[in-house]
Symmetry: C2
Subunit: 127 residues, 2 copies
Amino acid sequence: MTAPLQLSRRERQIMEILYRRGRATAAEIHQDIADRPSYSAVRAHLRSLEDKGHVRHEAEDLRYVYSPTGQPAKARKSALAHLVTTFFEGSPARAAAALLDSRSARLSEEELDHLSGLIEKARKEGR
Amino acid sequence: MTAPLQLSRRERQIMEILYRRGRATAAEIHQDIADRPSYSAVRAHLRSLEDKGHVRHEAEDLRYVYSPTGQPAKARKSALAHLVTTFFEGSPARAAAALLDSRSARLSEEELDHLSGLIEKARKEGR
DNA sequence: AACAGCCTGCTAAAAAACTAGCACATCCGG
DNA sequence: CCGGATGTGCTAGTTTTTTAGCAGGCTGTT
């Protein structure tokens, strides 16, 4: 039974920060939130997210450090899949192409090599 | 002055369907919504989205056909950027690598060729 | 013309999200 | 030992979101 991804705006903001940082205290999250609400509000949301099972905390150094319960890998994959179906007609290739677009990002030599390698691998497996 | 993406949960659902389909009637959107609300509710949201400038409609065949106002390309780019910073530490290369992962999708020969081409191009421009 | 079917606009009210602030605990420096 | 700084739990209130349903328009059919 996986957590039913139906988060509100604030909850999503918080989850995203957590995914980005891996783990964070309420104060850190509060800091990171763009449209900053009250510290209190953040804490309340964290508790609520914990209730719903999206987040867990461990006491550390007198305060709580929160982290997402879901495996980051899973979350990543699911987010990618969602984006691909929403914006790229379900085609991962198109999404990848958009990422490779040189206008938006320049990749290092190593990264390019790595990607080439992946493509080669895909070629072999496809055959 | 572009529309400030501050949508509620339902509004987001609707916008995503619109991006996915390009254009759709209220009934079609209603159909597509996972956690289905009332038809009436969908129409209300559409009107509200139109007020906020996220959506436009044209009368067609006695009913309204809605479509996103924003350029799809812009939306795509922004969604990608957001996802990359949230889940891939800001590295487009890692995101691309995830997309190429053969376990999640097998790409056609043509797609692979195309991607190789893009990588080559990036190599040249990087130099 | 009267009706059913499908559509829109609108509004009031229910539901959910969001928030502030209090009460209480711990730690630390004076 | 006493305040200030920082933390949490909780609860009640406000604001926003989400919803249903009414009123009415247009079409085509009988």
